[in-house]
Symmetry: C2
Subunit: 233 residues, 2 copies
């Protein structure tokens, strides 16, 4: 049965964090937590009477710092990251097709979706797809740094994500317009960047974006490759 | 079974709008939609393939204008409002103890909770309590206008809401700190304004707040008493 996650927002970087709570369970998983909200997120865990078992990252973010390392230290949750993202302190290094089990019979499927970064993954749980910066609502993540590739993102989205059930709910890693959730069916038919567009058109479109370099990139990426914890000297 | 609503946010007034979708259903209900987001909210309805059957208001808001009238016109949904809020164009006038049925066997219970305004209600659906401005996360709505009453709010929260199951999830009408959801159990034990506080203390605390008059009040309240539609001349 499809149940919605709890969706939390960081207004500074427009980042979504998700808490996954199976019906009737006290065990929970968090995806892409943000460092500046670690107290807020722990308060939610406490208010709902939850035990955090896993902290998941979709990739090594360039626009904000994760709280994964702090949450691991404070709750005992396992840190789970894509194997291709260069995050050695995480004890679980995930590959395409892996499954994360929690709360008894709950399963989270790992889908490797290179493009925004070479190591990016999406997570699928009970018909909910957590897309990180791979697929956004009516958009997609940028592909111009961290081994990003418009070619790879095109394949990841059109071959892997658009092959999922139409009713799959899409929970993005960011939104800049106050939006919350979409579906695979809608994105396949209407996504402004990816619906009914050839690979060549998409690659040209992404190459022409000329986006500014993320302000926090030189701080955020090394920090996130250490789960947001200070590097030892 | 407890399933989370879809939670949408208006950053201008820090207002939450909720879409309630029962598992496996295409029929949905929306609570406290915001006028400036009517296109966003209709896009969510379309992306999820939903049919909107009811638009619910928790009260006549003073800080933003509702889109209830527009959504009714565009979707055919019924407008449902608390009978004590002076919103005559709504076809369903709700009283304490009423039930709204939708999507087959789904039931939303109406709980009259005067205090923020004399007519305010909360809605209870599948263990989720939509509290409007009556109970906020670690706080509560103001009680100094629109027939508000700190005395009445104290009774509404401590006698009616805190009597619900501890695990009841509290989905507020506003949040100003990036928070999303709480529980009745946590609020009864820890709410900064209402937990373990005498009526006299609470009334004195609310009287001492000296809040500024809401900027949009003279526009928003009359507009909301007409479901957000222009008054005919």
């Amino acid at each position: 049965m499809q149940v919605n996650p709890i969706q939390l927002f960081d207004a500074e970087s427009s980042t979504f964090t998700y808490i996954l709570v199976p019906p009737g369970s006290r065990e929970a998983v968090i995806i892409d937590p943000v460092d500046r909200h670690v107290e807020r997120d722990l308060a939610h865990i406490a208010r709902l009477g939850l035990q955090l078992t896993h902290v998941l990252e979709t990739h090594a973010h360039a626009d904000h710092v994760t709280s994964a390392g702090k949450l691991r230290a404070m709750t005992g949750a396992k840190a789970c990251v894509p194997s291709g993202c260069g995050i050695p302190p995480a004890e679980v290094q995930l590959n395409d097709g892996d499954r994360i089990s929690f709360a008894g019979h709950e399963q989270i499927d790992v889908i490797h979706t290179p493009g925004h970064t070479a190591g990016s993954v999406c997570y699928l749980w009970r018909g909910n797809l957590f897309t990180g910066d791979t697929l956004l609502i009516d958009g997609c993540g940028r592909t111009d740094f961290q081994s990003g590739s418009a070619d790879a993102l095109y394949d990841s989205v059109t071959r892997k994500l658009f092959a999922l059930d139409d009713a799959t709910r899409v929970w993005p890693g960011h939104d800049y317009k106050g939006q919350s959730v979409s579906t695979i069916g809608w994105e396949r038919r209407h996504n402004a960047r990816l619906a009914n567009r050839s690979r060549e058109d998409f690659v040209a479109l992404m190459a022409a974006l000329n986006l500014p370099r993320p302000r926090l990139m030189d701080i955020a990426v090394p920090a996130n490759q250490n789960l947001g914890l200070p590097h030892s000297v």
